[in-house]
Structure formats: structure tokens, C-alpha cells
């Protein structure tokens, strides 16, 4: 079924975007990427450690997946802009996953800094996929500033709590003018399926796979969940009813 994910005019062969953080080894990451079928993976930008052998880039280029640098750890728009520019320079891509968090306890996005950063990054020519709160109004404002995808959290990063406010996610989807990617909070496959059922265009997850007991098996589960959720969304679910509705005909019943 031809139903590609398109972000900023670019077609991606999978609706599962995989974060690479948390994988215990490059080998485990490689196996998870293969099992996930993902077409794009995130990376973080950090000070180079020449003692480290092997690079996450070797794994990603070996699998032929698109590399999406993030601005993880940034607290201000200024930091995020510089980190994004370094990612662009290092990886030769103008795509960026914008993250501007307020503190280490919640890792929740700082809305004021996020708006400022989005404006600056769009102005500097970036294709901005922005990690945001599950706030429909903030999502609206980010789209007005020109982001290429809006990525509301399901729950705090790494929490595995699933989608805490599905109603808000539906509101974001309902008025979105760019793809909506459910980012953060996914704990297991049913969470990912729900995201797609709610109308999200894709999910971005890391810990749920990389920290699972069997990352490659969970990656395969996520791939199946995303496919199932998307199909269910497109197929159109039945309305919820208060009372039962028999599926067998009531006419023609024998008098017994």
C-alpha cells in the first residue's frame, strides 16, 4: 500500500523514526535499526572523544538511514541555534530535531525558548522538526513560525508512560498543517499503535527500543505497531457506544 510519510517534501519509507540514545553497543543498535525498518535516526552532538572506537555514524550510514541531528541538552534558543549549526556543519544536513528543555527533572520543553529557537532556526534555513509539549496552541504557534513537523510528547522523555493526553494529541492532529510525530513517552508497542490511530503521521522513540530487554525484537514490534496503527486510522474505527450492538441479525430467529 503506497502511503509514504512525507516531511518537507522528502519521502521516508517508514513511519517509525528511531532515536539512537541508550543502545548498549553499536552492534545492538545496528540490529535494532535493521529490525525497525526505520528510514531516519536521531543523533546528538557532543564533544569528540578520540578514544572512542567506532561511530554511530558508521552504523547509520551502513544501514542507509537518514541522520537527524538533535539539540538535546540545550536550555536556550542561543544554545540550540549553535548546536544545530554544528550539526549541519558536521553532518551536511539542514534538518534538525529541535529540543529546548527547561530542566533535568522533567526534560519538558521550555515553550518560550522553543518559540524563539524555532524562529531563529527557520530564519537560518533549517528544516525544523520540533519536539514540543502536548499543547495544541503551542503546536499551532510553532507551525505558524514555519516548522516542518511538530512533535508533541506522549509523556516525559524516557518515562515509558505512553500517551498521557490523547485528547490533546487529537486536537493537535486535527488542525495540523505539517506532519505530526508523536515523540517521547512511548513504552511499548500499543503506545505506538495508539499514536498512529490518533492520527499522528509517525512516532519517534528511542528508549522503548534501546533499553528493552531485546532491542531488536522490540524494534520489530514497534514497526508492526506503527503499521497497524496507521492502517486502523485510515480504515476508520467504529464509533464508541454506550450499549451493546449485536453483530448477528435479530431477524430470522427461531422460536425455540
Amino acid at each position: 500500500m503506497d502511503d509514504p510519510l512525507i516531511i518537507a517534501g522528502q519521502e521516508l519509507a517508514s513511519r517509525l523514526i528511531l532515536g539512537t540514545g541508550g543502545a548498549p553497543s553499536p552492534q545492538v543498535l545496528d540490529a535494532a535499526i535493521a529490525a525497525s525498518g526505520t528510514a531516519m535516526c536521531t543523533v546528538a552532538m557532543r564533544r569528540i572523544d578520540p578514544g572512542t572506537s567506532g561511530s554511530v555514524l558508521d552504523v547509520l550510514t551502513g544501514r542507509g538511514v537518514r541522520v537527524l541531528p538533535n539539540t538535546a541538552g540545550c536550555r536556550t534558543a542561543r544554545e540550540a541555534l549553535l548546536t544545530a549549526q554544528l550539526g549541519r556543519e558536521a553532518l551536511e544536513t539542514d534538518w534538525v530535531k529541535l529540543e529546548v528543555v527547561a530542566d533535568d527533572e522533567t526534560l519538558l520543553p521550555d515553550p518560550a525558548e522553543l518559540l524563539d529557537a524555532t524562529e531563529r532556526l527557520v530564519g537560518d534555513g533549517f528544516t525544523v522538526l520540533v519536539y514540543t509539549n502536548d499543547d495544541p496552541i503551542l503546536a499551532r504557534r510553532l507551525q505558524q513560525l514555519g516548522c516542518a513537523a511538530v512533535m508533541p510528547l506522549g509523556a516525559p522523555i524516557g518515562s515509558g508512560l505512553g500517551i498521557l493526553n490523547p485528547h490533546n494529541v487529537e486536537l493537535i492532529v486535527a488542525e495540523a498543517t505539517v506532519p505530526v510525530v508523536l515523540d517521547a513517552g512511548i513504552g511499548t508497542a500499543s503506545d505506538a499503535a495508539l499514536a498512529l490511530e490518533l492520527g499522528c503521521d509517525a512516532v519517534l522513540l528511542a528508549s522503548a527500543v534501546t533499553r528493552a530487554q531485546d532491542p531488536a525484537m522490540m524494534a520489530a514490534a514497534m514497526a508492526a505497531a506503527v503499521t497497524a496503527g496507521r492502517l486502523a486510522h485510515r480504515a476508520g474505527r467504529i464509533p464508541r457506544r454506550v450499549h451493546a450492538q449485536a453483530s448477528s441479525p435479530t431477524r430470522g430467529m427461531a422460536v425455540l
Partner: protein, 108 residues
């Protein structure tokens, strides 16, 4: 040009052609580093948070070549501004400058 194994030797190094040797010292390992060489010929910059003693006149390209075996997938900033790869050779480092050299790592 010799590429060193940093894991074995974080102390001194050389880059460039013979006769054009540039010695860098990690001050965290050698507190007397600033005494090496003639007075006025050396500068100290901060490289990824660590003070580094350099011969005056060293370029950003020299420093990066000295510090990492490959420049693939790396990006540099000096004093909070990105320096495009193509201009590293033109940037002569000055006393007190902050150099950050980043690369991609696993991250969500």
C-alpha cells in the same frame, strides 16, 4: 604527518612537516607546559573545556588534525561561533580562545 593514538598518549604531539613541528601540551597533565619554549611564543586556548598550550601561529586546522584521527562528521566552533570546515586553515588561534570540536553520538 603522523596520526597518534590519543588513548595511549594524551600529553604531547606533533603535526605538520619536519622542521615545522608544533608541540601541544595538555596542562591538566603537565603544569609546566606554559614554560616550554621561548616567552611570548606560546598561547593557551581552551579545547573542549581543557586548557591547551600551543605554539603561537597555530591554525584551527592544525589543532584539529592534531586532536582527531579523522575530520569526518566533526564540526568546530570558536568562541561560540561555528567555523566552516573550509576555513579552518585560515583561522589562526589566539590567546584565550575557546575551541569546541563536536561530533555525532548516540542520542534520542
Amino acid at each position: 604527518m603522523t596520526i597518534r593514538d590519543w588513548s595511549l598518549d594524551r600529553d604531547t604531539s606533533s603535526v605538520g612537516a619536519a622542521g615545522d613541528r608544533i608541540t601541544t601540551r595538555d596542562r591538566s597533565l603537565d603544569r609546566d607546559a606554559t614554560c616550554v619554549g621561548a616567552a611570548g611564543d606560546r598561547i593557551t586556548v581552551t579545547f573542549n573545556g581543557e586548557p591547551v598550550d600551543l605554539v603561537d601561529g597555530v591554525t584551527l586546522a592544525d589543532l584539529i588534525a592534531d586532536r582527531v584521527p579523522s575530520v569526518r562528521g566533526v564540526a568546530a566552533a570558536v568562541d561560540g561561533s561555528v567555523v566552516p570546515r573550509g576555513t579552518w586553515q585560515q583561522v589562526t588561534l589566539r590567546e584565550g580562545q575557546r575551541v569546541e570540536l563536536l561530533t555525532a553520538v548516540q542520542g534520542g
